[in-house]
Each structure stands twice: as structure tokens, then as C-alpha cells.
């Protein structure tokens, strides 16, 4: 009976939002009693951390022991480069032998990560998007977490970006940034034909954007790349990816029979959905890389 009563009491407190302070007095008493117990005596964690020499010796000893154990495991691993290793099994044979028919991609790795394991890559893009959103949450400046000193520093930076000469950086940025971005686009568009793809090409485009931003300053960058375009590109690419893969999984699983034409392997317009998916991933990665740079330097995209 008592248990039931306390349950209702807790439920009522939870609905009212007072659950935390219900047993607060009891909790404080129990906490102050517990605090004085020191189980380790003179070998407690704080003593070890306080003693610099002992801590260093123990860290090195643990790491060396770890390396020793792992080396003994490596000693028992199958031989390096042997074709009959257990890692080289029928999954790899399937990917290599029927990969061209089923995905139409010359690059087997692109066919693997964007067709057979496309949901994995979708998760990766979401991880990148989540990471950049977390950085925005932590570092984007607004009225509450922005002191006058930082504002003065930012103003100074903008002033130097506009008025300082820096001829090598500015001319280099002007000449190199378009070439770097063009090369990144080439790597993305040839992702299914040659080494490369969305992730590497997107990183190259991001490097070009960062070079341009570091030469000409954030203000000039904001004429064509604001926070609004950033979110728009990222969300649109993620939704396109989701729609493409939902379509192919739905039709494939239900045997509807309408397939995307694979094209001739080797042409640039071939291999079904791999090219648009590569473009989506590349745009997300480029935006993310530039977003990290902008947020870490100025706290604003």
C-alpha cells in the first residue's frame, strides 16, 4: 500500500515537474554521509595522480604491457598478404565478380559503399551533419556568449582582412582556389570510374573554400556562402540521398521491376544512383569542412 502511495506521489511530482526536489533533504543527508569514505587509503586515484613520477611510471608500464599483449596477438594472426586468409572470403568474391553487373561502377569500392552498403554511407553523412550541428551549438556566437573583447578582436580581424596587402596569399588564393575547387568537382564526378568519390572530392572542395576564406576574409565569403545556404545545401542533400535510396530499396524489395538504367560501365552517366549520391555526399562534406573552419576561427559561417 505504501509503495503504491509513493508511486502516485512520484507521478504527481513528475507531472508537476517537482520530482527533483521531492526527496531532496534525504538525498543531501545520504550524500554527506557517504562522502568521507576513502577506500583506497594511500593508494587512491588522487594520490597516484598527485605523485607525478609514480603516475608517469604506471602510464608507461600499462602502455608497454598493452603493446606486449597486442604484439603477442599479432604473432598469432594469419600471415600478411596471404590470399587464403579468413578475411578474404566469399563476400569479397561476390563484390568483385558480380559488382559490375549489379552496380555498374568501375570503382568497386564506390559500388560497395554507395550501392551494397548505402545505408552505412547515409549514416556517415548524418554523423558529419550532426557533428557540425554540435559545433554550431557550442561555438556560434550570439548575444549571450559574446563578450566585448571578442567583438573588438573580430573587428580587428575584419579590418586587417580588408586593408592589409598580403600579396602572396591574395594572388595565390585568387589563382589556386578555382583550380582546387575544379579538381574537387572532377574527383566527385569521376567517383565511380576512378579512385576518389564524394568524401575525398568534398574534402578537396572544402580546402579550396578554406584557402579563399583565409585570403579574403569571412566577409567576402559571406556574399555567396551564408549560414542559410549552408543549412539549405546540407539538408537538401541528405533528403535527396534518403529519397534515392528509399526508392531503390522499395522497388527492389517489392519486385516492382522498375529499375534505374545502369548504362554502359565506363561512361560518366552510368551506374544508376551512384553519381547523384556521390554529388550529395561531396556537397555535404565540402560544406562541413568549410563550416568547421569558419566556426573555429570566427564563430560564424
Amino acid at each position: 500500500m505504501g509503495e503504491k502511495k509513493s508511486f502516485w506521489k512520484h507521478l504527481k511530482a513528475w507531472v508537476d515537474g517537482e520530482e527533483v526536489i521531492l526527496d531532496a533533504d534525504k538525498y543531501i543527508v545520504s550524500r554527506s554521509v557517504k562522502e568521507k569514505k576513502n577506500w583506497g587509503g594511500r593508494y587512491s586515484m588522487e594520490n597516484i595522480k598527485g605523485n607525478k613520477k609514480l603516475y608517469g611510471f604506471l602510464s608507461v608500464a600499462i602502455s608497454v604491457l598493452f603493446i606486449g599483449i597486442m604484439l603477442s596477438v599479432v604473432n598469432d594472426l594469419p600471415e600478411f598478404g596471404n590470399p587464403s586468409n579468413p578475411a578474404n572470403n566469399e563476400v569479397m568474391e561476390r563484390y568483385l565478380e558480380s559488382g559490375i553487373e549489379e552496380t555498374g561502377a568501375i570503382n568497386f569500392v564506390a559500388g560497395m559503399i554507395l550501392d551494397y552498403r548505402a545505408f552505412d554511407t547515409f549514416g556517415e553523412s548524418n554523423v558529419l551533419f550532426l557533428a557540425v550541428m554540435c559545433v554550431v551549438l557550442l561555438l556560434k556566437k550570439d548575444k549571450n556568449n559574446y563578450s566585448e573583447k571578442e567583438e573588438a578582436e573580430n573587428w580587428e580581424d575584419d579590418y586587417f582582412d580588408e586593408n592589409e596587402k598580403r600579396p602572396i596569399l591574395k594572388v595565390g588564393g585568387k589563382l589556386l582556389a578555382p583550380l582546387i575547387i575544379l579538381y574537387g568537382i572532377y574527383v566527385i564526378l569521376n567517383g565511380h570510374l576512378s579512385p576518389g568519390g564524394g568524401f575525398s572530392g568534398g574534402t578537396i572542395i572544402g580546402a579550396g573554400l578554406i584557402l579563399y576564406a583565409s585570403a579574403y576574409g569571412q566577409k567576402k565569403m559571406q556574399t555567396f556562402f551564408t549560414f542559410r545556404t549552408f543549412t539549405l545545401i546540407c539538408v537538401a542533400c541528405l533528403l535527396t540521398y534518403c529519397a534515392c535510396k528509399s526508392y531503390s530499396f522499395f522497388t527492389g524489395a517489392n519486385h516492382v521491376g522498375y529499375e534505374i538504367p545502369k548504362g554502359i560501365p565506363g561512361n560518366i552517366l552510368s551506374s544508376g544512383f551512384i553519381l547523384p549520391l556521390n554529388i550529395c555526399v561531396g556537397l555535404i562534406v565540402a560544406c562541413t569542412m568549410y563550416g568547421f573552419y569558419a566556426l573555429f576561427t570566427k564563430g560564424d559561417i
Binding site: 604473432n75 600478411f80 563476400v91 568497386f108 579512385p195
Partner: protein, 124 residues
């Protein structure tokens, strides 16, 4: 079973992992700690790439129209390494953002000093 002489890529990756771990334990500066974490990530990529290699075979990109599994190396570790790189970049960026906030609040990157100041602020 005695392959330590032939498995030196794996052995080097294990040693790198241990160096990164030691860095993580011994450094007091938070940014150096995350450099240690990145060394550990790199060791894992080296291990996976070494597991995928097969002697005398070429990269998994169709060459001369040969569709034969015994001509190419294993493509699966390449995909795994790609996943690992993306996750490591995300984790590094997130943790560095946290470090920047910590520096703004405490004015130091030293782990011990941050702990000391936070204890004083709590009033113990």
C-alpha cells in the same frame, strides 16, 4: 604460428596505438590529448588496410576488363577505413569545440588546473 616477422604492418600499427594511448595518459594539455587520440585512430586505419592487402594483386578498380576475384585486393577494409575516417573527423571536431569552450571559461588548457579551478568554484 609465428608470424611476427611477416606481419610487421600490424606490429607497427599496434605499437602506434600504444604510443597514442601513452600520449592520452601522460599529456596534461587537452589538445595534445586529442592528438594522441588521432594517433590511435590512424593506427586502426593502418591495421585495417594491412588486413585487406594481398600479395601481387592490384587496387579494386576494373583494369583491362578482368572480372576475376583473384586479380584484385580485398575492397571491404577500404570501406571500413572510410567510415572510420569520417567518424574520427567528427569526434575530433566536436571535442575541439568543447576544448575551446573550456578555454573560454577557465583560461587554461591544463587538465589539472581546470580540475582545481572547478573544485574551487564548487566550494569544497
Amino acid at each position: 604460428m609465428n608470424h611476427l616477422g611477416t606481419n610487421f604492418y600490424e606490429a607497427v600499427s599496434v605499437i602506434l596505438f600504444g604510443i597514442g594511448f601513452m600520449n592520452l595518459l601522460l599529456q596534461n594539455n587537452l589538445i595534445k590529448k586529442f592528438i594522441g587520440l588521432n594517433i590511435m585512430d590512424t593506427a586502426v586505419y593502418l591495421f585495417l588496410a594491412a588486413k585487406g592487402y594481398i600479395w601481387g594483386r592490384v587496387a579494386p578498380i576494373l583494369t583491362d576488363g578482368i572480372v576475376d576475384a583473384s586479380y584484385y585486393v580485398n575492397p571491404i577494409p577500404a570501406g571500413l577505413v572510410l567510415t572510420g575516417i569520417v567518424v574520427s573527423v567528427s569526434v575530433t571536431a566536436f571535442s575541439l569545440a568543447l576544448v575551446q569552450r573550456l578555454y573560454m571559461h577557465y583560461g587554461t588548457l591544463n587538465m589539472d588546473e581546470i580540475m582545481k579551478i572547478s573544485r574551487e568554484e564548487e566550494g569544497e
